[in-house]
């Protein structure tokens, strides 16, 4: 009898993989193990819409009914403790053991911890729905929220906190917000938007000390300023969850190292989503690790397919988005692959920056604008990037030439 497909990690990636196994017609046992008490759910709303209402709600990827109907066994609130590769068994924290034919590690990432003493219960991180609930309780008019880190989590949270009337300070050690992966021209617009909405953004200043002071937290900056807050949220990046894989002797390289088919150094174990590093075909096999919703989804589906023997290589172009106030940012590709930028203006102040490599190849596109004004052009750019196209810079920059026409060329 088949031991079945076992998935460790019941987030976007693991959840999608389980559904994909059924979509692909697999009829053996499918087991999804998660350490949270909830159904598999979407994380992007946690720093956005989930905070907007009075009572955050979970956006489940699959309901109890769908899981039951599709015979997906969901084991929640437990951790995977060890993989016995020889026996093809995973031992769980509750003492039970689950056999597998193929195993998928979709263990995700966890917030990078701020390596400082003095962090009390009012210094928190955002990763899970329960984290979001705890933060939401502090977002009220006049309450002082300090956010450490001017990345996406921090800035989206700042926008949500402002909407609810909180007093918000963002502390970023780098000279500007969104240093990683976002062009300065776009980061500047986001910075200005936050300031216009009343967020105090402090860049280029390090934290010298943090101390709990009664119900308050006092942050001393190296530049001499003191920030007093009722809640401190730390959003300084994420680290892949690799402990289980490392202890099982799998190769680790900035995440669980997988090949183009998302297979680890053990042919019966796959890894996908935030926890893995993989060769990105569109940039000549450059090894990357992505922390993005769509990547988690796509790799979950691809891993499912390859667990069933499809032998399909990863070929997608990275893509992510961020919503802050009424603005949406979308980026496809990795802009650090580019050496030249061409700007294309759209209606309503929206614009796209096309990033071209030395040889003229389009390698990334970054867009910002109100609502979904940049979505279509970014999607077309993504297709051009996937085709390794070398569109003329003049055509990219011209509003009158449709991007779709470049795709056909």
């Amino acid at each position: 009898m088949a031991k079945g497909m076992l998935i460790i990690g019941a987030g976007e990636c693991g959840g999608r993989a389980a559904l994909a196994l059924r979509d692909l017609g697999y009829d053996g046992p499918v087991t999804l193990v998660g350490d949270e008490p909830h159904l598999p759910y979407e994380r992007p709303p946690l720093s956005k819409d989930a905070l907007a209402g009075d009572a955050p709600v979970i956006k489940a990827i699959a309901s109890e009914e769908i899981l039951a109907e599709r015979s997906i066994r969901h084991i929640h609130s437990v951790q995977a403790a060890a993989i016995d590769r020889a026996a093809h068994v995973v031992r769980l924290s509750d003492g039970s053991a689950l056999p597998y034919d193929k195993l998928l590690l979709a263990t995700g990432s966890l917030p990078r911890r701020l390596p400082m003493p003095g962090l009390g219960p009012r210094c928190v991180y955002l990763r899970t729905f329960n984290d979001a609930l705890a933060i939401r309780a502090h977002l009220s008019p006049g309450n002082r929220i300090a956010i450490v880190g001017g990345g996406f989590i921090g800035l989206e949270l700042a926008a949500a906190a402002r909407r609810l009337g909180a007093v918000v300070t963002v502390i970023e050690a780098q000279p500007r917000i969104l240093m990683r992966g976002v062009p300065a021209e776009i980061a500047k617009i986001i910075h200005q938007m936050h300031e216009a909405e009343g967020v105090n953004i402090l860049c280029g200043d390090a934290i010298a000390a943090i101390a709990a002071d009664g119900a308050e937290v006092r942050i001393a900056l190296a530049g001499g300023q003191d920030i007093v807050a009722d809640l401190v949220v730390i959003g300084i990046g994420a680290v892949p969850v690799t402990g289980l894989a490392a202890e099982a002797g799998l190769t680790i390289d900035n995440g669980i190292a997988v090949d183009a088919e998302l297979r680890t150094s053990d042919p019966d174990i796959f890894a996908a989503g935030d926890c893995c590093s993989f060769p990105l075909a569109v940039y000549g096999g450059r090894r990357v690790r992505l922390e993005a919703w769509r990547n988690a989804q796509e790799q979950g589906a691809l891993a499912a397919s390859n667990m069933l023997g499809a032998g399909e290589a990863h070929s997608a172009v990275p893509w992510f988005w961020s919503d802050q106030y009424g603005l949406t940012l979308q980026i496809s590709g990795l802009s650090d692959e580019g050496s030249k930028v061409v700007r294309r203006d759209l209606d309503d102040g929206a614009f796209i920056l096309f990033h071209l490599a030395q040889d003229g190849r389009l390698v990334a596109a970054s867009g910002i604008g109100p609502g979904n004004s940049v979505a279509r052009e970014i999607r077309l750019a993504e297709m051009l990037i996937a085709k390794r196209a070398k569109p003329a810079a003049e055509a990219l920059g011209s509003q009158t030439i449709k991007l779709k026409s470049l795709l056909a060329a």
Partner: protein, 104 residues
């Protein structure tokens, strides 16, 4: 139940493109296919209520601008994650250069 409503002119939409149409508190998306036929669906994605008219039309597929959920706009069928609920479609006719939809 013959409540046909004029949505736009036939030339208002390019081939293989989409346009938003609001009527009586409701929102729709009107499509012109690459082979010059017209179709109509509900205007909002079934995943997170985003206007589909900001999305990209490729052949008979409309892709949501937010999370790339895909639908066949001719049938309303959901075509892959994250969307799983189909879109409602509406009859469309072309009359004297106008596009009309039966919103029922």
């Amino acid at each position: 139940m013959s409540d046909w409503v004029e949505a736009c002119g036939a030339d208002d939409i390019d081939e293989e493109d989409v346009m938003r149409f609001d009527h009586d508190g409701r929102t729709f998306a009107i499509y012109r296919s690459p082979d010059d036929e017209y179709f109509a669906t509900d205007g909002l994605c079934t995943h997170e209520k985003v206007h589909l008219a900001d999305g990209l039309v490729m052949d008979d597929i409309i892709e949501c601008p937010k999370h790339n959920g895909r639908f066949n706009y001719k049938t309303g069928a959901a075509r892959g994650a994250p969307v799983c609920v189909n879109l409602r479609t509406y009859p469309v006719k072309r009359d004297a250069g106008k596009i009309l939809i039966q919103i029922g």
